[in-house]
């Protein structure tokens, strides 16, 4: 079972992001879970969402403490939120930043850091800096956890025709751009 934690701010789509990843896994016949962790729900507050993907039905109903991977939608969160808390040894960290992975400084040195400038890509594709779908494109590239086509299909289904195409463009652009 793979456990993924998404960090974002209220309004950035961390919850929808986890849901789309879980749905893409479901599309491929895998078993998955996604659920949010809210504090006090409001725009801009730090939020987390959890996603689990496995080959068998997932029974567990508890929070996610030791993720295999972490997706950070907003690097400014890292001042106040311990984004690599509990991360498994050699786990994957994907951060939305202009910096190359080598320039990102994490005290947890035992992880694979990847970066992508999802904000710029989302602004180009959507006209708005909502990066959840874009970040998933990058995540799928580095982990291969679901196929790009499955993700694109779920994104289009979720957002409908016009916005779906734009989000799919963001997914594909980040898929190519991630370092």
């Amino acid at each position: 079972m793979l456990e993924i934690r998404l960090h974002g701010r209220g309004g950035q789509g961390a919850v929808t992001g986890g849901e789309l990843l879980a749905k893409a896994a479901g599309l491929e016949g895998k078993w998955s879970q996604c659920f949010p962790k809210f504090g006090v729900e409001r725009r801009g507050a730090p939020v987390q969402s959890y996603c689990r993907i496995a080959d068998e039905r997932i029974k567990i109903h508890q929070e996610l403490y030791e993720p295999n991977a972490v997706i950070v939608l907003d690097a400014s969160l890292m001042d106040s939120v311990d984004v690599t808390a509990g991360l498994k040894e050699g786990g994957t960290v994907l951060i939305n930043t202009r910096l190359p992975p080598g320039d990102v400084c994490l005290l947890d040195g035992n992880c694979n850091v990847h970066t992508v400038d999802a904000t710029t890509i989302a602004k180009e594709a959507l006209g708005r800096p909502i990066v959840n779908t874009a970040m998933l494109g990058a995540f799928v590239k580095i982990t291969g956890i679901v196929k790009l086509e499955s993700l694109v299909e779920e994104v289009k289904k979720h957002f409908g025709e016009r916005l779906g195409e734009k989000n799919a463009d963001a997914v594909k652009a980040c898929y190519e751009a991630v370092k």
């Binding site: 659920f35 949010p36 039905r57 029974k59 311990d82 509990g86 400084c105």
Partner: protein, 398 residues
């Protein structure tokens, strides 16, 4: 059909396919996506009626009127909403009006919380409602059609309880029963008696001391008898859907040859299944008994506990100033049926305090030394978390 869907939305889909005549909800915090989804379904013409009332008190009151007129009636709520219904819950049961509430289990104020525990519905245990607790979303969607059938066959209202957040907000793969399957299983309601201008009757009238007690004890006896309906419908639903949950009243997991048992209700029991699987691999003889039907209380469950070295009751509810409710009831049933097993009581998981697989293993370990009565604080068993700090200049570099 299996789909990746949120628990709340799946439950709304099944509630729709049960063909309710009247749905009334108060769609504000605390609420789940069930009410919101039913509202959308009404807008799309998928259900006959939906009324967004001004409070949960009005929602349940509207259901009383609808059910009295012979309609199939449904609402959904949680925590404070259920508490606000309290007065009418007793009236609905006392008037023998079938209806179904799906309650997303969440804490009661104060302090204010939106998270999961069972204090809301356990507090309504004496209302005369049948209460069924689900361990996962699959069971929740499988239980809603049974709830309508049981309620309409017994003229006793039914509350389907499933855990707030842990289940309601969980997106996962759920096999949603087809409308045709539900249609075949659940016939249209045939009210034995109803409000009818052609044939007037009185419902919920005043009872003098000579009669009041008789009505209440009749209800009590009928709720007890409803255990047979709960069992029967589990069989019947199992036949059409291929899915069964124990005998409908309770479900056992590796209980038969177990030396130690974990007893509880709700989604924490799937974590307990994982703990049992893990401990069995280590050669420890542990098992589970999950209470699915809390009202009527299945005191025969004691047969599954007899002869064990120890058992513990874990519950997400507290009875202020007394023993925890489920523990007290299991304990009393054991005495009555002569089961002399050291029984432990754990209260925990209140207000969403996470109960992990590791916690459950620890609880099993603790009761080996004799019975324990405690509040589980949830901290000791939490996995150790590595500390790390933020990243480079882009974060402001402060």
């Amino acid at each position: 059909m299996k789909k990746t869907i949120e628990g709340s939305i799946a439950v709304a889909e099944v509630a729709r396919d049960c063909g309710p005549d009247v749905v009334a909800c108060f769609p504000i915090t605390p609420s789940t996506h069930i009410a919101e989804t039913l509202d959308k379904m009404y807008t799309n013409g998928e259900i006959k009626s939906y009324t967004a009332v001004e409070s949960e008190f009005s929602a349940i009151s509207m259901l009383v009127g609808a059910s009295a007129a012979g309609a199939r009636a449904f609402t959904t709520t949680d925590s404070q909403g259920l508490a606000l219904m309290h007065e009418v819950l007793f009236a609905a049961a006392g008037m023998r009006l079938p209806m179904v509430i799906v309650n997303a289990n969440r804490s009661l104020s104060a302090p204010l919380s939106i998270w999961n525990d069972h204090q809301d519905s356990v507090s309504e245990r004496d209302s005369g409602w049948i209460q069924l607790y689900c361990k996962n979303n699959q069971e929740a969607v499988d239980t809603v059609p049974q709830a309508f059938k049981i309620s309409e066959d017994t003229n006793i209202p039914v509350m389907v309880c499933f855990d707030g957040f842990y289940l309601t907000h969980l997106v996962e793969q759920i096999d949603i029963p087809e409308k045709e399957v539900i249609g075949k299983y659940l016939p249209k309601r045939k009210a034995e008696y109803k409000l009818d201008p052609e044939n007037p009757i009185t419902m919920g009238m005043y009872a003098l001391p000579t009669h009041y007690q008789g009505f209440r004890i009749d209800l009590h006896q009928d709720v007890l008898k409803a255990a047979e309906n709960v069992k029967k419908e589990m069989e019947a639903w199992g036949d059409v859907s291929g899915r069964k949950y124990g005998n409908g009243l309770w479900e056992e997991y590796h209980a038969e040859d177990a030396e130690y048992l974990f007893i509880g209700m709700g989604s924490v029991m799937e974590n307990a299944e994982l703990a049992v699987e893990k401990m069995r691999k280590e050669g420890k003889k542990v098992g589970l008994v999950r209470i699915r039907c809390y009202r009527p209380f299945p005191s025969e469950v004691v047969e599954a506990i007899k002869g064990k070295k120890g058992a513990l009751v874990f519950e997400k509810a507290v009875s202020m100033g007394a023993d925890a409710p489920l523990y007290a009831e299991i304990s009393s049933a054991m005495k009555e049926k002569g089961a002399d097993v050291p029984l432990s009581s754990y209260v925990g998981g209140l207000g969403g305090k996470d109960i992990t697989v590791g916690h459950i293993e620890q609880m099993f370990g603790e009761i080996e030394g004799g019975p324990v009565k405690k509040v589980w604080d949830g901290e000791t068993g939490a996995p150790k978390i590595k500390k790390s700090l933020g990243a480079g200049e882009e974060n402001g570099g402060a």
